[in-house]
Amino acid sequence: MKRGELTDRASAATFPAKQGDSVLSGTKRMAAAGMIPFALAGCITVNAPEKPIVIELNVNIRQEVIYRLAEDAGNTIEDNADIF
């Protein structure tokens, strides 16, 4: 909901600039009116994402490193079949 309001306000402020000052000032007034609830609330609520949070394991490890080690790791698993 909040995101929708924000998007509307942003687009309203951008596009009517081509159409003339009267429209723009009206839009500005509307935008200002739109700001009032936010100003009164004093804070913006952020909703938690609905999707599960994906654990990025060892994000610093780059794919090229994994590709370089892949063959050796595969051999290691075959050579140590008792612990894999």
Partner: protein, 134 residues
Amino acid sequence: MGSMMNQRFSRAMLTGAAIATALGGIATPAFAQRDPAYASARAAGQVGEKMDGYLGVVGSETAELRRIVNDINIKRRAVYSQRAQATNATLEEYALTAGCQAILATAPGEKYQAPDGTWQTRTSAPPIRDPRCP
């Protein structure tokens, strides 16, 4: 004369050593099978392959399962450490790569950890792996 004798002697020694190695090779861990307790826990889905290259307990943990998993992981870590040094990689890099391969090598029915951290049962379809996996 003396040097020739020595040469022949050392060659015999080397041959003997080669034969001993060949015979010993039959019993080396290279062909060793999984410990029966580990094999059955794995087949029953009580333990699974984690993304980080180590084994994990799936579901409720028992002292016996923890013992099996710790034992395997200590051995894996030793191997990873050795290979990481040989390939000029870090322990984590090597372990993660081995994890990619170990998950790919799981048999249908066995458990593995998906990128979202959940345990999945391997089917005949390819496993869900980290996008960086080869």
